[in-house]
Amino acid sequence: MAHNEIVALDPTSGPLDRKDPRAFPERPETLNGAVVGLVANGLGEGQKMMDALYDELNKEAEILGSVRVLKSSVSVPPDKQDWERLLSEVTVAITGMGG
């Protein structure tokens, strides 16, 4: 080892690359025929905003329907059963976030 050489350790629990290794699905070109998931986090008027957003989207496309999720707490991600509903029933999902 050279005089000043230092061998040091990686401090992470794994790669910190900002790109998630899990690929994002492609966004559909249209919402025609889509089922839209609406995930409200429970803060403020989030549910009303989601409803209003859905109404606006419905004017732009022939949306088949919606799956509405209200998180059980603002502190935590959606419940397992809500994830399952979203994964099995919706084409796209919109999430509200806030802190």
Partner: protein, 332 residues
């Protein structure tokens, strides 16, 4: 000797290491102490932990924090090896389920993690609890708090713009650690109130949404001081949360200029809570917001700070409970 698991990297000199750690996103923007195998082992030796021992995890982020992870980051933060048992206790507290790492380190609001140290270890490590204790200039405070934050960044992946979504964040996220001034306090220390023996040392982690001073240099009795605290608290309020239940905390850090009125009147922490709780939690109105604290015991009262300003600092909570863990010291 149990082998370490972390990848090793070779650098031609210290400057190269610093630049590489910055480029890889492994720092808080400040230089770090090189985490060599020898340094990390000396830290682990102070706890008796094996490298693989798990201190906690964040299930939503699919990460666990081992003793080795914590030691590497504590070295980087500039800790001394003897500080490491406190860092371990802090990590265990923060990674308790209702310490809520996921939310408190990802939130748009940029909550900080306040670490309060109690018990004999404060004096052994020279943890500051008096004048200037929230600020810079004290190695133990600065580096123990920084170690927790580097772990949150490097192990729990709360990186600004990635899983840390703070709109502004806060300088308290570099480091926020102080001790309770048990020697100059008229009250039972925080850790004893929370069920630990006085001779035990503990680390309490409290997620702070907002910190604000209730400054009141006019009151000359406990009720006046507490009315000022209530007034300041109700300007902000604190929302409840279904998942956290009735256990949400607020921490009041009472400085010596306010403390003396409680000492003179013999008012205990419990009596303070009985005065504060109904006033803090009464219905919102007239521009005031209630604090949804389920019971008086959720008001945690700590002695710290130096003379001069007549202040009590209010550490208003983010979506987590204040969690206290014992500092385990092998051989004691």
């Amino acid at each position: 000797m149990t082998s370490l698991n972390a990848d090793q990297h070779t650098f031609s000199d210290y400057s190269s290491l610093i630049e590489a750690y910055h480029e890889r996103g492994w720092t808080d923007g400040l230089p770090v102490v090189p985490p060599t195998e020898a340094n990390v082992r000396s830290f682990l030796d102070h706890t008796g932990l094996a490298p693989d021992d798990i201190l906690g995890g964040v299930p939503t982020r699919e990460v666990t924090c081992t003793a080795e992870h914590a030691a590497i980051n504590a070295v980087m933060a500039g800790c001394k090896p003897e500080y490491f048992p406190v860092v371990v206790a802090a990590v265990r507290a923060h990674l308790e389920e209702k310490g809520n790492c996921h939310s408190t380190t990802g939130t748009l609001s940029g909550a900080s993690q306040c670490l309060i140290i109690n018990g004999p270890i404060r004096q052994e490590l020279d943890v500051a609890s008096r004048a200037g204790c929230f600020g810079p200039g004290f190695r133990a405070n600065a580096t123990i708090g920084r170690a927790l934050r580097l772990i949150i960044r490097n192990v729990c992946r709360a990186i600004p713009g990635f899983l840390d979504r703070a709109s502004f964040s806060t300088p308290a996220r570099y480091s926020f650690c102080f001790g309770e001034d048990e020697e100059e306090s008229p009250w039972t220390p925080l850790h004893v109130e929370r069920g630990f023996p006085a001779e035990t040392s503990t680390a309490t982690v409290h997620a702070v949404m907002t910190m604000v001073a209730a400054s009141d240099s006019r009151s000359r009795n406990p009720e006046g001081v507490m009315d000022s605290i209530v007034k300041e608290a109700r300007l902000r309020g604190a929302g409840g949360d279904k998942w956290l239940g009735d256990e949400l905390n607020i921490v009041l850090v009472v400085g010596p200029e306010h403390r003396r009125y409680f000492a003179e009147s013999g008012m205990s922490k419990s009596q303070m809570r009985d005065y504060l709780w109904p006033r803090m939690t009464k219905k919102s109105g007239n521009g005031e917001r209630r604090l949804k604290l389920g019971k008086p015991d959720n008001i945690l009262i700590v002695s710290a700070g130096g003379p001069g300003m007549a202040e009590t600092w209010l550490l208003l909570p983010h979506l987590a409970l204040a969690i206290t863990k014992q500092v385990d010291l092998p051989g004691r």
